[in-house]
Symmetry: D2
Subunit: 486 residues, 4 copies
């Protein structure tokens, strides 16, 4: 699988994992959030927003584009004064209407302003919104997160914490939330803890962030992960922990370890880079092959390739070079220019791989079209054999928890056997990591099939929550529209 | 040394290597040039231009920004019709005045239009322009390349080829040129061949490009390098080769192999990636040290680190993670946020390096400030020992051949011994590759000091051409202004 | 009084009269709305919006700037397909948050999309919104018009017409509304008919517009004015008229005749240009003075000046020339450049007025600072005497019905007698039209003080509706903020 | 004739009269030039430039758009420091290449910087440039003004004044120039004085400007007109006058009085507004008609209409209302919308003209299409009779002196008699002012046909200079391209 970028209209990649960040009680809160979001940019590159509170007023900025291009102007920072701020980075579509979907969402409620940033996807948002609309609520975005705003606004509880709890208890799906009111900052993870959320400390100021790498950039200390089902309330008097949901076993998204999280993050106490190398090691054990070198599909396949090479005792080589200067829509210069899409980002290193038996290591296969082009490029450059090793089990099902995956029917592994897939992408051999192998790489003994330790629905089709908005096959598309907003 | 980006006002990096690309006799010439320039984006990221010729008229587009952002709109391509086009990618400064410096330069001469794109730096351009101005020439850019335009325009020869030869013979310094007239496309390298230029073929259409990686992206075939001192003239009847200069031994820039060129390029028949790995091997042989792992400063130190690790039989680890989403000026959020500049791009992978003896491999040290910050970051992440190994000899002198280096006095190696530098960047040990080691990595037995095979002035201060514009110490600054235009 | 423009931070003018336009059942609905709004540009120059319905979906475009600059691009029109569309032109402030205030407002209600454009001001909007917020409504703009949206959404009626009636019956103040649902277009004027709204016909398609000049531009036929308190419902089956409010005597804004409306409009059957000339005639009768010429303050004083000159039998002369190319903030080039602000738009025609006794005719005096500068300019150009004649009574009170007036305390006439005002602006004589004179100019015999025929609160302080949002003196500011939204 | 605007692709108007302004020896020179250019905006609305000199360096800013939009930002002013500056306002075409044509042109010559701004057109510029190109000059704009730059640069004189004189003596055509070097500001008019140029004084600082209205805006004093054939040199020691050309009788452009100049300007001692009213008086005397009212085609026909109405003793009425908010390209909403182009700017005031016999007064007829549409609009509004009176003789020939006129063949009067024109525009009667009448209006007894006092070539086809660049009929187009640059 190739990483996301602005190129593919029919994207052959997973995306739409959002990033959230908040800080409470620190001068220059907005610049710090900007840095935090920059470190979380891999979780969403198309738009971002920050809401700050200066003790009297809330300030909102939303921009389409990379943090480093849109939020780094002094004039933007000047419009975000205050000692508290939360931010969000995400994907979005083009046009005027999209800006209203950029988070954090903000509303003036009867008892004051309220902002919320969300990573995940609420699987009963549509159902909730239909009920709300019938009661006269005006839905002004197409974001699933807006349901939360209305639930808080219409809650009959009088105390703010109670209203928030009242609201999140009605939500299904995955949600790691950071919210800001005039008095407090709240962090909350769904009972299964599908998406990550960590607590940090910068000289006494509390921080909430999707990943620990966002703490590193500002020199903050990693304190701990927010627990599945936990809600922390941060005020001037400190931090309080609540557990407003019924207790269930957690199901963290295992694909965060494979692909989404940054390799320098530590999640749930686990070292992401080490897990990815372990994945390579497991893969080499399960699916060894005689070859001359191990070549990663950069950059997402690189750590697994290093692990594979070490375990298989093969040289690790940069047989594919990545061009990081990727821009917007390129013009197709005519039919004779083959495989251009993939070449905008990758080029085979001909002299290195010519005449060699190459083990290509990639993190996953989505539609298969990118893999096909990369294999062809490697063959055109003279590789004698191409063996593809995938750092995860076959992805057979859409994610409804905040990742923008193609419909299930478009996933190559949903309609082909491994052998057919090997033919389709034209490799000499193809192998995926087993589910147990993946669990081992993460540090488990294996998957407990009766009670899986992680959410692995994209591999196993076992969704850990109800999919209320999903009723009948023809709703899949609408659902996937909905699912792409978190 | 860290790679270039838009961040540093006092850049701690080398830059200003330009890239050129041209194609003759092919529909959709401009989209192909766009792709070629995209593949050469690493040679200059701040501005680009394309000139096309449609059989009757020349069309010029110049834009500030990345190729992928500025040249990929259909409207831009529509304004560049024709079967021939040349392009250029470069650095530039801000403001209205800068656009006129973006190449290709173009002028309507008495016998028709003439466009030229230049990689290198003409070291007597100022001197030539002063003479031209006295004769009444109007200099409309601050580019050294404009001297060539005027020399062609005022040549007393009648034939176009002769006028071109007349002009280039008056130039000193480094120049790899691609020029376009209404009849022909010309490629030309200076007698020493300081900068690269290759010839390619796309189904019978000739291509000129700075590096072979620009041929790969469009599926073109690498034919050969243009030879030092060679001028090729491409017309509808084919290609002709001329050697208009006195014959001298060539002096290709050895730093292209260390840093500038893309690792998937082949230059002068040599495989850049293999050379960089060789550099790591030589470095491991010359400067071995007991350690637990080899960590590259990504991405420029990566191939040498792989070579070092293989030779030293140490694990190669991604101990530093790079964030590729780098934007414009970031706000400094206050003093307590240390080393932020470097953290926008790099983060130490704490769990990987904690308690370990780390060999850091980087390509060079310019001012030393970035190295200092990276070492500190690695130490803060818990490394037990930090040993820095540099994939080139100490850079002691400015380049006047098309690379924007700081003044000599600001180069750390120009005023410190290796021991002092080790103290300055606070490493446990520091070592550079020897000059002979570098020559061995490139495939030579060593440096022929009486007759060096390459331009290595930045290491040795032995400049292979006169520096005519440079008269007395106080002119260095003016010269360096001049030198930054190529 | 001078006309509005982008120059004055402390504007010495009335503004914020909005314009609305809608068409039902005609191909190219959006381009027609664009033209209609262009003809209504004098009612609001800073932002505009159009909502179209294509039979299946609503399309929304909102832009900051003049219609002719923002809505005339083919790409914008292409995004507004459909046979029905409504539009709005208005003032707005800068920044991201303002775009959400640009009308038409739009929401997806439980039974379909609903868009509304409003001219006027709802004087109990704040009170309504506070109630709505307490019930959990999320207010997403700072526009008074949003109250209507929520009232429709939360109405307990089941039929759409009934919901709309239910909502507008709760509104106080001035409102001329054009609304669009998936089935119908609705036009509605408040019971007093404070703001104008006319019905037009273009080859069988119904049009609603603020003024008849917007019908002329597209060659549509003026049918009639929508009556005060009338609600017309336009569907595919034709037009239906309803009168949902208790019947009261109408109170149209008399200042529309003096200043807001375009002179080529016909409002409530009256010819605006003729009324303005009548005003000049009445002024000449009431306040004759010996003089050499009559000079208008262009362009708003011109028709009254023509009437004055004809009645007084004095030459009408362009003694002040207006520069229509007015841009944004000008830099003040130092103290010696006096009265620059006014000179950006006006210049005295020295040769014409030198040594002459001049009657200056202007439409009104707001703060007086502009009048002061114009008088000084005319004196500097050599006028022997300057007599100011104002085409309306003294404006003593703020408008709360959709016009952005300064607070009452800043109106010159609220704190000075006519004599003091003459001193302040330094004229030889100053006279205003009497209230009865104004009523005569409009065609009445005079004002019926017990039952005034028009809203003339800005002259008389007699507001014809409750000002519910206005409680106590300290609320004036908040109210005036609110009042500036319509 | 209708005034210029951005609407007409096939413009039915004269345009391309440029405006120039310079000030020497005054703090904030650039802001003052900005104001001066703003007052000259009617002479060119599409682009502008300013060059300032700060004692050491020249600073150049060029922008597409209105002065008030592009030059009023503090950042732009900050980039133009210095006590001397010159500016230019003009038309330009779209695209990157056009910016290089925006004046002032600037070049670093051997003896220092040199900037020049030009109003007029050099009728042998192409011929000069061809000679220069053959000598090797590189022409970097398509502006006729660049010829002057090269002539100064290549002059063999040693003294700067002599070089300037050497250059201007080679020019043919119309030129009112303002130039700036590091030592002096120069003003120069061609020997015939075809275009205006005045000298002003602001507290001791010298000013050069196209029209006196540009002095008024900054409170400067009008000193005198620069004389035809005069060159003034302004230095720190004061002003010197030279007459470098052979003495000839002057031929000022009479159409400046009819249309181009602002009515509040005084040119060659004559009051433009008074002349325009005189024109109306002469027209009423020559071409009286029984009618009910006089209606100007606003704004250019207004002063003549006032004069006509006073002389004919008819009421002057605003029977056509002008919308000043004119934007860019409007979408045509289909065939049924008739005469839209003209309606974007004008609307007939139906109630005023219905059933009336109307005398329409306009300044000129170019192609006739606009007149046709206006007449139709007036008829559609119910006028009983429409009599068109034109405030100038029929325009039968293109201008080659700085006005962008259609080719002669496209001028209605070049191919039709007055009767045919009356039929074409569908009026009940049509009459033009006689040439002698025009001369009388300007203050002469009549035209001296043997030795005309003004340039009136557009009426008489008698061009007062050679048209060297114009050779044969097929060159007319190229010439008209050339002629549109001044």
């Amino acid at each position: 699988m190739q990483e996301w970028d602005g190129l593919d209209s029919e994207a052959d990649a997973f995306r739409d994992e959002c990033g959230v960040f908040g800080i409470y009680g620190r001068q220059d809160a907005a610049p710090i959030v900007t840095l935090g979001l920059h470190a979380l940019q891999h979780r969403g590159q198309e738009a971002a927003g920050i809401v700050s509170f200066d003790g009297a007023q809330f300030h909102v900025e939303r921009h389409i584009g990379l943090i480093g291009d849109t939020f780094t102007k002094p004039s933007v920072m000047d419009r975000l004064p205050g000692h508290r701020a939360i931010g969000h980075t995400r994907y979005s579509t083009t046009g005027e209407s999209s800006l209203r979907n950029v988070q954090p969402l903000f509303a003036e409620l009867a008892d004051g302003g309220f902002a919320v940033a969300h990573n995940g996807n609420i699987t009963n948002a549509m159902t909730i919104q239909r009920v709300l609309q019938k009661r006269g609520a005006i839905i002004s975005s197409t974001s699933d997160t807006e349901a939360l705003l209305h639930l808080v606004a219409t809650s009959e509880k009088t105390n703010f914490n109670d209203r928030f709890v009242d609201a999140v208890r009605q939500l299904e799906g995955a949600f790691s939330l950071v919210a800001l009111s005039s008095k407090k900052m709240i962090g909350c993870r769904d009972p299964l803890g599908i998406r990550p959320l960590v607590l940090g400390d910068l000289d006494g100021s509390y921080i909430l962030a999707s990943e620990s790498c966002a703490l590193d950039i500002i020199g903050a200390r990693y304190v701990r992960d927010i627990k599945p089902g936990e809600m922390v309330v941060i005020t001037e008097r400190g931090i309080q922990s609540h557990f407003p949901f019924d207790s269930v076993d957690s199901r963290f998204c295992i694909f965060e370890y494979v692909y989404f999280a940054r390799p320098d993050s530590v999640i749930e106490g686990r070292d992401v880079y080490a897990i990815r190398k372990n994945i390579g090691v497991e893969l080499a054990r399960e699916e060894a092959i005689e070859a001359d070198m191990v070549v990663p599909v950069p950059d997402s396949g690189t750590p697994a390739a290093i692990g594979y090479a070490q375990e298989a005792n093969l040289p690790f080589e940069l047989g594919i070079i990545r061009n990081h200067y990727v821009g917007r829509t390129f013009i197709q210069p005519g039919d004779s220019i083959r495989h251009m899409g993939v070449k905008l980002k990758h080029n085979a290193n001909r002299r290195t791989i010519e005449g060699k038996r190459v083990v290509l290591v990639d993190d996953s296969i989505v539609r298969g079209t990118t893999s096909q082009k990369i294999v062809q490029m490697v063959r055109d450059a003279g590789a004698k054999e191409v063996h593809m090793r995938i750092a995860s089990p076959p992805t057979r099902a859409s994610c409804f928890y905040g990742v923008d995956t193609p419909e299930t029917a478009k996933l190559l592994a949903s309609r082909m056997s491994v052998e057919e897939m090997a033919d389709f992408i034209r490799v000499d051999s193809l192998a995926f990591l087993s589910t147990d192998g993946l669990y081992r790489a993460v540090g488990e003994e294996g998957r407990h099939d009766d009670k899986p330790q992680f959410c692995d629905a994209c591999f196993t089709r076992e969704y850990p929550t109800p999919l209320t908005d999903l009723v009948g096959a023809d709703n899949v598309r609408r659902l996937s529209v909905l699912s792409s907003k978190g």
